[in-house]
């Protein structure tokens, strides 16, 4: 009896329980957290760690180098639809000549507001601002001395509303973001080894992220039980696309990666693994790897650290 009463009180406190307690959901669609691109949800989540490894060929005066990056990202709901996030990345560069550079990159902070959700069409829209905080990282790894602000819109769309004839396509979903990044300084002046001033210009840029996923859990639970067992029935194959296009100040061509991979999502956490394939020679010459361990804090601590600060 006491437990039923507490459930009722919690549901009342949540307002509408479905709205209050959902994370990564639109109707019956569960969207896993994407790895390389920002997803549209406001949620209590912790990525610990995200690890990437990439190799870059020598270019001009830049030596060839390998880069490993280890990140932690934490997002916290302030209200049901408004959240903040923080991230830190530790970089380790090893040049071809054996020289190493390591240290933290600039800290990142963001806010996000989910302003639209439609359960029937499995659609979510949100807007946010990312702040790459200048001068908070190590000079040894080339952390910028200026900040970069990136307002962006985010979307998620599941295809569960496709007609019956196309039901096997219903597990598909698309998430993405479109942002415009502008630096707090348009240029920086440094002095080279020979004492000459070197001016480096910092262009604005457009950022596009897309993730196309096919949810095997959705297939199993809502379309066709094909008898998939563990671990296949919790897997979501996906392809992510991350592009950055400088738009002024001689910023050069578009760079980016396309990342095919898979996410395995369980009750409290998910594991993700992706290949990182450069889209052109300016984006790198080698395929890298990206992996992530991601915790659903609102499932782990539903009435504590995983709940919004204000209901």
């Amino acid at each position: 009896m006491k437990r039923s009463l507490s459930i009722v009180l919690c549901a009342v406190a949540c307002g509408v329980a479905h709205e209050a307690c959902a994370h990564g959901f639109a109707g019956k669609r569960f969207f896993p957290a994407t790895i390389a691109t920002e997803d549209p949800f406001v949620a209590d989540e912790l990525s610990l760690p995200t690890y990437s490894y990439r190799k870059f060929d020598a270019s001009g005066e830049e030596p060839g180098t390998t880069e490993s990056a280890t990140s932690i990202d934490y997002t916290k709901r302030i209200t049901e639809n408004f959240g903040v996030g923080f991230g830190a990345t530790y970089l380790h560069h090893k040049d071809e000549d054996g020289t190493t550079h390591k240290g933290f990159d600039n800290l990142a902070a963001n806010v996000k507001y989910q302003f639209y959700k439609n359960d029937a069409s499995e659609t979510i829209l949100s807007a946010g601002i990312d702040w790459d905080i200048g001068n908070t990282g190590a000079k040894a790894i080339g952390a910028e001395t200026f900040s970069t602000i990136t307002p962006a819109i985010f979307f998620g769309k599941g295809f569960g509303d496709l007609p019956e004839d196309a039901r096997m396509l219903r597990p598909f979903a698309l998430t993405g973001s479109l942002g415009y990044a502008f630096p707090s300084r348009t240029q920086s002046t440094t002095t080279d080894d020979e004492g000459n001033d070197v001016v480096e210009r910092h262009p604005d840029s457009v950022h596009l992220g897309l993730a196309l996923e096919y949810s095997l859990p959705y297939l199993q639970s809502f379309v066709k039980d094909s008898g998939l067992g563990e671990p296949w029935n919790k897997m979501v194959p996906l392809v992510e696309l991350n592009l950055e296009k400088p738009v002024n100040r001689g910023g050069g061509p578009t760079i980016g990666t396309v990342n095919p991979g898979v996410v395995w999502a369980s009750r409290f956490m998910q594991l993700g693994l992706e290949a990182v394939i450069p889209v052109n020679s300016r984006s790198g010459g080698h395929t890298g790897v990206l992996l992530q361990v991601h915790f659903f804090m609102d499932d782990l601590f539903p009435n504590g650290a995983g709940a919004p600060l204000f209901r």
């Binding site: 459930i7 919690c10 549901a11 610990l48 199993q220 639970s221 379309v223 039980d225 499932d299 782990l300």
Partner: protein, 123 residues
């Protein structure tokens, strides 16, 4: 494994232990009888759904609807007392055709999931 990775593993471990503890989560449909998208030769006695989490009986439900959206089950949905992850509802003899099972699952920590699927009764 370098020092940083060891420190991260040290941070992640308490969370992993919490996972193994008393935490609850969203209830996902793991198995259904009749099977999701399946075909049966005759009317099943009941429609049964098994979820990944124990359900709160007061707020969880399952309905069986015909092609016109009319509820055709007997309205006696029940969460299994010995297996609280299972909810079921009995159905009368069904005519041949396609039926939709709609459900709403509230796990014991009030996380809510919902969904539907179809099955077909052969003539």
């Amino acid at each position: 494994m370098n020092r940083l990775m060891r420190r991260i593993a040290g941070l992640a471990l308490p969370i992993a232990l919490a996972v193994a503890g008393e935490a609850s989560a969203h209830a996902f449909l793991e198995r259904a009888t009749p099977r999701v998208g399946g075909t049966v030769q005759s009317t099943p006695e009941r429609v049964s759904l098994r979820f990944s989490e124990p359900l709160e009986p007061a707020f969880s439900w399952v309905k069986v609807l015909d092609a016109d959206g009319k509820q055709v089950d007997r309205g006696d949905k029940q969460v299994n007392r010995s297996e609280p992850m299972v909810i079921q509802v009995s159905v009368p003899r069904l005519a041949a055709g396609r039926y939709r099972v709609a459900w709403r699952a509230v796990s014991v920590d009030t996380h809510v999931t919902e969904g539907d699927f179809t099955f077909e009764v052969k003539p």
